[in-house]
Amino acid sequence: MGKTALIVDDSTSMRQMVGFTLRESGFTVLEGENGKDALGKLDGAAVQIIITDLNMPVMDGITFIKEVRTRPAHRFTPILMLTTESQDASKQAGKAAGATGWLVKPFDPERLLQVVQKVLP
């Protein structure tokens, strides 16, 4: 399909797992360690879907989502947040910032692919 995903998480293992799952499904994967790092990766890249953690150092996920939505090329790009059941307030903030959907941890690869399919045109 030739689609590119950007994964944003300060946890290396989480990036590896999400990245592995998406690569197995034919995605090209870009990675960012936090929101700021990811914005750098986003500039000039053709990215069709973004998957981001919320709790990160330097720039958190909510700020990152808001920033992405100010980029003309990514105003309508699907953004999935990685959340946990206990993070309802963050989830609400993420939605208000412009997130498309969410994925509840613990990370489950099959669920990731289902949700990606749900939001990816």
Binding site: M17, S86, P109, E110, L113
Partner: protein, 300 residues
């Protein structure tokens, strides 16, 4: 497709050990300076990360333990609980226990002795100083798992700002279509303004349709999981009269009994075309204005 993540298990444990160390150093910083917000955030993130990864690998003990730990840290972050010497003391002991819990999980051994007692101490610390509010019992509600009713009337009215969240009504229709047979798909164009007033970044269309198949209400509602606050959605079983006719069939072969009316496909295509036009308009809006170039090509 079955995706095997076992290869990342070792990486998880290595990272968990780093997080455990970060937890400990953060707590020591908090012990010295209880108002150190950054240290508290660092500590929370560390516990949160371990918890998140542990569930993925089915490390139940690690997940349970870090869940209680995280809950206490969350109350500290939220200000419902003060960072006192007593609290940091419990947290430091819990961090020691966490090291053992991780080691046991890595070795595939049973949970270390004292884990349950430590969890109880964490839970107790969490209650201390906080008025016990009403237990947040998840509303059990009707689970809506009734597969018997298998014909649903669905109405979907996206809010104008749906597209701003990266959502797309066409994807919702596509997902409904994957659940069963769509019929009586009628686009609602009443909110569609004249072209001159149309903002291509806004969604003006709504749909009503009938979905037939071996589908529970919960499955139908699942389609709208992400759009609960950007769409008005109603899902209702079709009227009993219509249902009665279908009840005659035994066994319930999906989709066999109620054939959609002949014109339904055409209506669906019309709905899709309308949505596609809206989407195309939106795509056009994203590109720099190029309206002049085809004319130039024709004339040159």
């Amino acid at each position: 497709m079955k995706i095997d993540l076992a290869q990342f298990r070792a990486a998880f444990f290595e990272e968990a050990i780093e997080h455990q160390a970060a937890l400990e150093s953060g707590l020591l910083a908090l012990e010295r300076e209880p108002a150190d917000r950054e240290a508290l955030d660092r500590v929370f993130r560390a516990a949160h990360s371990i918890k998140g990864g542990s569930g993925t690998f089915g490390l139940t003990d690690v997940a349970r333990f870090t869940h209680v730990l995280e809950a206490l840290l969350d109350r500290l972050r939220g200000g419902q609980l003060q960072v006192t010497p007593a609290v940091t003391e419990v947290l430091l002991r819990a961090t020691d226990m966490l090291r053992e819990v991780l080691a046991a999980a890595r070795a595939g051994a049973p949970a270390p002795e004292g884990m349950e007692a430590m969890m109880a101490a964490l839970a107790e610390a969490q209650q201390a100083g906080a008025p016990t509010g009403p237990a947040v019992a998840p509303a059990a509600g009707p689970v809506a798992g009734d597969r018997a009713a298998s014909s649903w009337r669905v109405s979907l009215v996206p809010h104008v700002d749906l597209l701003q969240r990266g959502q797309d009504p066409l994807l919702l229709l596509r997902e409904l279509e994957a659940l069963g047979t769509l019929s009586e798909v009628v686009p609602d164009l009443t909110a569609l303004p004249a072209l001159a007033h149309l903002d291509p970044e806004r969604c003006y269309l709504g749909w009503s349709l009938r979905l037939t198949g071996e589908v529970s209400e919960a499955q139908v509602r699942e389609v709208f999981q992400f759009v609960e606050d950007t769409c008005d959605v109603t899902v209702a079983p079709v009227a009993a009269a219509t249902q009665a006719a279908k009840d005659g069939r035994a066994g319930g072969r999906p989709g066999a009994a109620s054939r959609p009316p002949r014109w339904s496909a055409g209506r669906l295509i019309a709905a899709r075309a309308t949505a596609a036009r809206a989407t195309a308009g939106r795509a056009a809006a994203l590109k720099p204005a190029r309206s002049a170039w085809p004319r130039r090509r024709w004339t040159s």
